[in-house]
């Protein structure tokens, strides 16, 4: 019983704005690869992949999603970078009983206030970013922290969560400075971080702000003495800055292409198509789509309730994650990693950028169910 005999998956992403490199076309390609790996069919039913650019506008995203669900018979949406779009679209998916596989979004609310039986939060969230960085770093002896925080909700919560973790693990927070979103120059803020003499400067910001902070940190001679930790960073950022600037930085990652044979194989395939290596969002999108299709294959139905039940039932073992599973609140539980950027000398080949510092098991990385504010979680 596949509705109208086609399984439709919609990749909703940002094809023209700030998440272009972070998700964007790479996510579309990753989803396409997953579909291809099924031979374009599940149980003889055709799989159709459609995509849309939400332009980082929630109203465009939700209008598109509405059309997809009501008219085009889309069964699942995937990716959803940009938290306002992700919130609006996943809400609509829940209303219409369709599956939302959030691989690009980082908002903790998807598995808390906004949780629903139809939402899977797949790759990472702000809690895990903070948690992994805080724990792993303090354990490695980086005890004193200073934060450079983007002055809006995302930055503030990232800073707050990380501080709590740092303190809980025996570290200290020496202070923080707030900078405006899209600041043109970070030197003033970094000088304040420098004079704090903290071991770690945590970057509680994202995108261009991360990149420009790192540049200024190099210029003012902060980096060799103090360690920069990107609280939200991907390999795409490392690539665009180059190893010279980013060497020895640390950041939290959910996946790296050079971790095992499977991931390397995927990385190479992706590279051949996109001329760049995938980041965790791309890999997560591939994995999420594959798991979704597997669940349809297993249940023989594209009914959201059945598929979701199936997805939550099985263990996930693929190139993205080993021994992972989807928790009752929709959180996909997988190990997270603390990565360090290699020095130019250590790097042997193009895109050979990172080395593993620590693995944080899923149970430690993500928000424990006991703390969940999700209404589906039974206590």
């Amino acid at each position: 019983q596949v509705s109208d005999d086609v399984i439709r998956i919609g990749v909703m992403t940002d094809l023209s704005g700030v998440y272009l490199d972070y998700a964007g076309k790479g996510s579309v390609e990753a989803a396409r690869m997953a579909v291809e790996d099924f031979g374009g069919k599940v149980n003889g039913k055709k799989i159709e992949l459609i995509m849309a650019d939400h332009q980082n506008k929630a109203d465009i995203g939700s209008a598109k999603a509405r059309e997809w669900f009501d008219r085009d018979g889309v069964d699942a949406v995937v990716d959803l970078p940009n938290s306002s779009v992700a919130l609006a679209v996943s809400r609509m998916a829940s209303d219409k009983k369709r599956v939302a596989l959030i691989t690009g979004g980082a908002n903790l609310r998807h598995t808390n206030e906004e949780c629903s039986p139809y939402i899977v939060h797949y790759v990472y969230d702000t809690f895990s970013l903070a948690n992994v960085a805080g724990k792993a770093m303090v354990k490695q002896g980086y005890k004193s922290w200073y934060f450079l925080t983007a002055d809006y909700a995302f930055g503030a919560s990232l800073e707050k969560d990380t501080s709590e973790v740092v303190k809980a693990n025996g570290g200290t927070v020496l202070g923080s400075v707030k900078h405006p979103l899209n600041a043109s120059d970070f030197s003033s803020f970094l000088l304040q971080a420098q004079s704090s003499k903290a071991q770690v400067v945590g970057l509680a910001n994202a995108g261009g702000d991360v990149i420009n902070s790192i540049k200024a940190a190099n210029e003012f001679g902060i980096t060799p003495k103090q360690t920069l930790v990107g609280l939200l960073m991907t390999i795409s950022d490392v690539h665009s800055l180059g190893l010279q600037q980013t060497q020895k930085m640390k950041f939290t990652d959910a996946w790296y292409w050079d971790m095992n044979a499977d991931s390397r194989a995927f990385g190479k395939r992706f590279f051949d198509r996109m001329k760049r290596m995938p980041n965790m969002v791309h890999a997560g999108t591939y994995s999420a789509v594959s798991q979704y299709l597997k669940a349809i294959a297993a249940t023989g139905s594209d009914d959201a309730d059945k598929v979701m039940a199936q997805m939550k039932k099985v263990k996930i073992n693929d190139m993205f994650a080993k021994n992972a599973y989807i928790r009752e609140d929709g959180r996909m539980m997988h190990d997270m990693y603390m990565m360090e950027v290699k020095t130019p000398a250590e790097s042997k080949s193009p895109w050979d950028y990172l080395k593993l510092v620590a693995t944080v098991p899923a149970a430690e990385a993500f928000q424990p169910l006991t703390a969940s504010r999700c209404s589906m979680v039974k206590r």
Partner: protein, 343 residues
């Protein structure tokens, strides 16, 4: 006479539309149409180009959303709160900006609106980049459930129509007369005893309030409000709508809003359709280049179609009508619009 026929046809079309098109999409178009008309009230009839109208649109959206969601006020009060907030922001912004003319005015509105953007970004109440989600629609007059799209559609249609009627009336009011005079020759208006700054300010506040009404309504329709609506690119968008439709024409902004909203939402589909029909894969990329296409439209409009769709049509009909006095009925809507331009 024929003006009425034109309006009647428009109303009939609007009433029937939700049976053919998405009500939510239509409501969004209506909200933007009202927004553009409100904006046009300022540029078209006082000659002041504001590049900060997003502040009213989005600001009202946040206030209305907050009132409805957090304070749980009824639907009408929510809209009212949004509108009043926009009027208040308009008053402050106007009081600062009105003292300068032309391009200075434009830049000041732009900068002040950007300031509001930063405030919205930082305030906890707005939810930062998550936006304000889950705004309830509530009930009209406490009885009629607005959860149903079609019901809400007619309510929104009524709101937009009322707003539009108020704009038309304002243009053709004693106040509108003075505005025209001020636009034509400001020192002379002063010497005749008119406090021109207050007239401009009132026009500005009116425009802000109506833009706010549009923004508040949009928030209720979609159920959320995000930073997009207070960002300066939203101000740019409303300028584009008005420009495409016809600056200073009464109906132009409506047409412009329809065209631009449709474009924003459907450009990707259009690209895919072109790719399928012509077999040129390149067309698919159009969907990824909304900003480039928008920019191109701006340039083309400014260089070649300054009068906008309605303005150009009006001029065309005027030309056609000159030799023959027939065809009046068909062109009535546009002709009236054009007449107001010249006024």
């Amino acid at each position: 006479m024929d003006k009425r026929v034109g309006y009647a046809i428009a109303v009939a079309a609007a009433v029937a539309a939700p049976f053919f098109l998405y009500p939510v999409f239509l409501m969004k178009v209506l909200c933007f149409a009202l927004f553009a008309c409100a904006f046009n009230l300022l540029i078209g009839f006082t000659g002041l180009l504001s590049f900060g109208h997003a502040a009213f649109f989005g600001g009202a959206g946040y206030v209305a959303g907050h009132a409805l969601k957090v304070w749980g006020v009824p639907f009408e009060l929510g809209l009212l709160a949004g509108t009043a907030a926009a009027a208040a922001i308009g008053l402050v912004m106007g009081a600062l900006a009105i003292r300068r003319q032309g391009i200075y005015f434009t830049m000041i509105t732009l900068a002040l609106a950007q300031m509001l953007y930063f405030v919205c970004l930082q305030l906890p109440a707005t939810g930062g980049e998550d936006g304000l989600q889950g705004v309830p629609r509530g009930k009209l007059l406490g009885i009629i459930d607005l959860g149903h799209d079609l019901t809400l559609y007619y309510v929104v249609l009524a709101i937009a129509a009322a707003g539009f009627a108020l704009i038309v009336r304002t243009v053709h009011s004693p106040f509108g007369q003075v505005l025209k005079a001020v636009k034509e020759n400001e020192p002379r208006a002063v010497s005749l005893g008119y406090d021109v700054d207050r007239f401009k300010l009132l026009a500005f506040v009116l425009s802000a309030a109506l833009a706010g009404l549009a923004g508040a309504t949009k928030t209720v329709v979609l159920g959320f409000e995000t930073l997009t609506d207070v960002h300066w690119s939203m101000s740019g968008l409303v300028v584009l709508m008005t420009l495409v439709g016809g600056l200073g024409t009464l109906t132009g902004p409506i047409v412009g809003a329809i065209v631009i909203i449709a474009l924003e939402n459907k450009l990707g589909d259009l690209g895919n359709w072109l790719a399928v029909t012509t077999n040129v894969e390149w067309f698919r990329t159009i969907g990824e280049s909304v900003t480039i296409v928008t920019g191109a439209i701006f340039i083309v409009c400014v260089l070649a179609f300054r009068r906008g769709i309605v303005g150009e049509l009006g001029a065309l009909f005027k030309k056609l009508r000159k030799p023959k006095e027939t065809k009046q009925a068909a062109s009535s809507l546009h002709a009236t619009a054009v007449k107001t331009t010249e006024g």
